[in-house]
């Protein structure tokens, strides 16, 4: 059996290298600077358990190819979910329309360009189809752990979802690369009730991993307990104070702060168009010198990791901010071409039905020297936020928001009462300049992040060590 990148689509759908060159030629028939084809076969399965029974179990296959033609700043895009030559040629002709009048581009003969790394060493072919029984056992174990954690837990919902995505990217510059990308995720929602008050707790995790991950790294028991603990904790929480105060972020998932406050603003498309609050700031100080932030797509097994991006470029560890100085933006093919930069392997898309854009992979801040306990001790009155729901940012002015699902008051250097409903709001260009302490305890999240941009969702990772922000607005009701 051959291991050529084209193997999967050749074997199952009869797509040959000659066909691929023909499609690219059709895409560039009216000119254009660059064309690529993105073939995708995605097998997915999901399970949902609630009230102690499997409420929904499903499985599916989605298949298609997207054809893209670039001509200067213009993009023509067409896709079809039918891999017959007629349909693909028609899509290529449609995408080619945009480039009419431009000079003809020579198509380089395709050559295999393997990603050169193997970040998800699972038996990829099996990951999308490991059989129901193992997955059923996982959700049941998570449920049991949540229920057994505390008698006040009244409802538990557990969801499991996995997918295996086979992709093939071929481009007019001769690139031809393929990847088999697994993904699995287990998530738990627990409701706790006491004296007529109901509160919820969430947990979740996974990555580009096989089912064994949940036995060896992150057990369903741990996830069940996390959700139950948060729900019970919230029963005792009091309303959150409102106003500006010192904020300490716990390590791991609170790194969503970086993702919202800084990450999106450093995506190359917004900077090329000068629509980001960070446009034109390369080489300038944008954070306190304690801050070094990277976007790293090369971490084994992580949710945001990729052997290659969705344009066939190898992923990198890109330093975005080094000791407070803005070093790099995250590039996809289009922005890199237009600004004379190189792709940083950040071109990503939700599926064959979507055009690629610069997107984050795993974005995190490197560890500092402060002891987490010292950070807490330094706060006279503030908020300690350890778990979060979602966040959002307005790229243009850098205003970001994110919501804490578990947080505590800090009074006179001690963590005191749990509070609920804390929302943090700030300004991207300001917030990292106010980071005064950086912990030595860098942690990445457990693998639950999904990032939305222009209506497209992609999996991402985030992380931070314990961080102190000297001043941030906390939205609460008191």
């Amino acid at each position: 059996m051959s291991n050529a990148p084209t193997d999967f689509f050749a074997r199952h759908y009869g797509v040959s290298p000659t066909d691929l060159e023909r499609y690219l030629a059709a895409a560039l028939a009216r000119g254009g600077d660059f064309a690529d084809l993105y073939f995708e076969h995605q097998a997915s399965s999901s399970l949902r358990l609630e009230e102690g029974i499997i409420k929904s179990a499903s499985q599916g296959i989605s298949l298609g190819v997207g054809v893209r033609v670039l001509s200067g700043e213009r993009t023509g895009y067409a896709y079809t979910d039918d891999l017959s030559p007629e349909k693909i040629l028609r899509a290529a002709a449609t995408a080619a329309h945009i480039a009419s009048g431009a000079t003809a581009t020579h198509i380089v003969g395709l050559s295999d360009t393997p990603p050169g790394r193997n970040l998800y060493p699972v038996a990829a072919a099996a990951a999308g189809d490991t059989g129901m029984l193992g997955k059923l056992a996982l959700v049941r174990r998570a449920e049991r752990a949540a229920r057994e954690h505390d008698a006040r837990i009244v409802q538990v919902q557990v969801g499991y979802a996995d997918e295996l995505r086979q992709i093939l990217v071929v481009a007019s510059d001769g690139r031809c690369s393929a990847d088999a990308q697994p993904m699995a995720r287990l998530s738990v929602l627990a409701l706790a009730r006491e004296n007529g008050v109901t509160e919820k707790g969430h947990s979740g995790g996974g990555g580009r991993v096989a089912l064994e991950f949940f036995d060896e790294v992150l057990t369903p028991e741990a996830l069940g307990e996390q959700a139950a603990r948060e729900a019970v904790q919230q029963l005792a929480a009091r309303p959150c104070p409102a106003g500006e105060m010192e904020v300490v972020l716990g390590p791991g998932w609170p790194g969503i702060l970086l993702h919202e406050a800084i990450g999106h603003g450093l995506e190359a498309d917004f900077n090329r168009k000068k629509t980001s609050a960070f446009s034109g700031l390369l080489g300038q100080r944008v954070a306190s010198e304690k801050c070094t932030v990277v976007d790293n797509g090369t971490l084994p097994g992580r949710r945001g990791s990729l052997n290659m991006d969705d344009e066939g470029a190898p992923t990198h560890c890109t330093t975005l901010i080094e000791n407070g100085i803005l070093k790099n933006y995250m590039q996809d093919e289009l922005s890199a071409r237009l600004t004379g930069a190189a792709s940083t392997g950040n071109g990503r898309r939700e599926s064959y039905a979507h055009m690629p854009m610069p997107r984050m992979t795993n974005t995190y801040m490197l560890a500092g020297n402060d002891e987490p306990a010292d950070i807490i001790r330094s706060v006279r009155r503030g908020l300690y936020a350890v778990n979060f729901g979602g966040g959002q940012v307005d790229i243009t002015n850098g205003k970001f928001v994110f919501s804490a699902s578990e947080s505590y008051l800090i009074e006179d250097g001690k963590i005191t009462a749990p509070v609920k409903g804390a929302t943090l709001i700030g300004n991207g260009p300001d917030v990292l300049t106010r980071v005064s302490m950086v912990g030595n305890d860098l942690k990445l999240d457990q693998g639950i992040g999904t990032c939305g941009k222009d209506g497209q969702s992609v999996p991402v990772g985030v992380g931070i060590p314990t961080l102190k922000v000297d001043r941030l607005t906390v939205g609460g009701t008191q």
């Binding site: 949902r48 499903s58 009244v154 804390a422 929302t423």
Partner: protein, 445 residues
């Protein structure tokens, strides 16, 4: 395609399913973007997919595929049967009752063939005109996130083993513009959009552009507001998001899971008497309309909140059985899961005051024009979101504010509604007039 759906259902029975359902969707889309007058992208595509739900007694399996050739569909049928066998019996599982099935008669005006007639060049022209109108408004409009025109049409076919076969064809198109303004080195953006079943029903591009420009310009020079408790006025666009949270809380699924702050509140007074909230899935030409829901139950008009009283939840047949109620025809589904619950057209009925009168009555408060973030908890009703808008001083919109949060609790907010505007705006499937809510906490300086 109808034949394929019926064949799937018949074949499921032959292979041992006790009940089955098949949904097929196919459609086309055209989407263009221009930025600063230049073409940025043109996208054109067609897609299709098929979903199967089968039951073996009280056990269910769901599968989907974008490959509609028979060998692929047949494999999906077998997979659905295998999943059903592996899953747990659920006493409430099943199709709707046969007597609940049917379709709303008459022409709901959901399809305008003109959507398919729009060429890429015409679409680009609409987007260009809208952006040009926006940028021409003021010299401070120096940049743009672009303008886009999107059009699509789709057909949905549903067949089940109780003999229901339905087909519906719908179209829609939209035009949006997102200009950027700059003043003293600070940038702001906002946007405006129009949406309709067909291009001739869209607001003119010049109107969309002008409104986008006005919204963007009025944000320039924004500052933070002082922390405190103030009346908050939600303009129709942000009021619509409040309705979205209420929708989540009155969804029968959240209610039977006891994951809603309105669990157990049916028949009770939960809001001010002035508040009437209606869902209507068969309103002609409206964006959320359909003759039948995702289970083949006719859509209808349901009063959710009437004179402040919670009169109905929104239900699919599963949530209805769990709660011992009748379905309201609000089943909705993607292909990858069993049906959930969604609204048809959710509308808050307008009041008598104009938005100007509502603002004029407020000595100090906030007029919210944008909300961001996800700080809404449907279980407790806790509400805390990032906001920007205009500060109200002595009954006038005085200056723009940003980087603040608005917090309260939805359960209380329903009782703190102090005024409802006469400016109900239809723009999508969820529609609201201006709403004033008192006693919310604003966090800022």
């Amino acid at each position: 395609m109808k034949d394929l759906a019926e064949r799937v259902v018949a074949e499921a029975a032959r292979r041992g399913a006790t009940a089955a359902e098949c949904v097929i969707r196919y459609g086309r889309e055209l989407s263009v973007n221009v930025r600063l007058g230049e073409v940025e992208s043109i996208k054109q595509a067609e897609g299709k997919a098929l979903g199967i739900r089968i039951f073996k007694g009280q056990q269910a399996g769901v599968t989907h595929s974008s490959d509609l050739a028979w060998p692929a569909v047949s494999a999906m049928l077998d997979a659905a049967l295998a999943i059903a066998e592996a899953s747990s019996p659920d006493p409430f599982a099943g199709l709707p009752r046969a007597e609940d099935l049917g379709r709303r008669e008459g022409d709901l005006q959901l399809y305008d063939p003109a959507v398919l007639a729009v060429t890429a060049d015409e679409a680009l022209d609409l987007a260009r005109r809208a952006e040009r109108a926006a940028l021409a408004c003021d010299a401070r409009l120096t940049n743009s996130n672009g303008a886009s025109f999107d059009a699509g049409e789709g057909t949905k076919i549903l067949a089940n083993s109780l003999g229901f076969v339905g087909e519906v064809r719908r179209s829609s198109c939209s035009l949006s513009v997102a200009p950027i303004a700059e003043q003293n080195g600070a940038k702001q953006r906002d946007y405006w959009y129009a949406v309709a079943r067909g291009p001739s029903d869209l607001e003119p591009p010049e109107t969309v552009g002008r409104r986008a420009a006005e919204r963007t310009l009025r944000r320039l020079g924004a500052r933070k507001a002082a922390t405190g408790r103030y009346p908050v006025v939600f303009e129709p666009k942000t009021a619509r998001s409040l309705l979205g949270h209420i929708l989540e809380a009155v969804s029968g699924e959240a209610v039977y899971r006891e994951a809603s702050f309105l669990t157990g509140a049916l028949g009770r007074e939960v809001a001010v008497p002035a508040l009437t909230l209606v869902d209507d899935g068969c309103q002609p030409a409206a964006l959320g309309s359909a003759p039948f829901d995702a289970e083949g139950v006719p859509t209808r008009r349901t009063v959710i909140l009437g004179e402040g009283r919670l009169q109905s939840y929104l239900l699919n047949s599963y949530a209805a059985r769990k709660l011992n109620l009748a379905t309201t025809g609000n089943a909705a589904r993607g292909l990858a899961a069993a049906p959930g619950v969604s609204c048809g057209n959710l509308t808050m009925e307008p009041g008598k005051q104009s938005p100007e009168e509502i603002i004029a009555a407020i000595p100090q408060g906030l007029y919210v024009t944008e909300l961001i973030g996800f700080g809404v908890n449907a279980v407790t009703g806790d509400y805390s979101r990032g906001a920007s808008g205009l500060w109200i001083e002595n009954g006038q919109l005085a200056y723009p504010v940003e980087e603040i949060t608005v917090a309260g609790n939805l359960k209380e907010m329903l009782r703190q509604v102090a005024a409802i505007g006469n400016d109900l705006e239809f723009r999508g499937a969820v529609n609201a007039p201006t709403i004033r809510i008192d006693g919310l906490t604003i966090a800022g300086r």
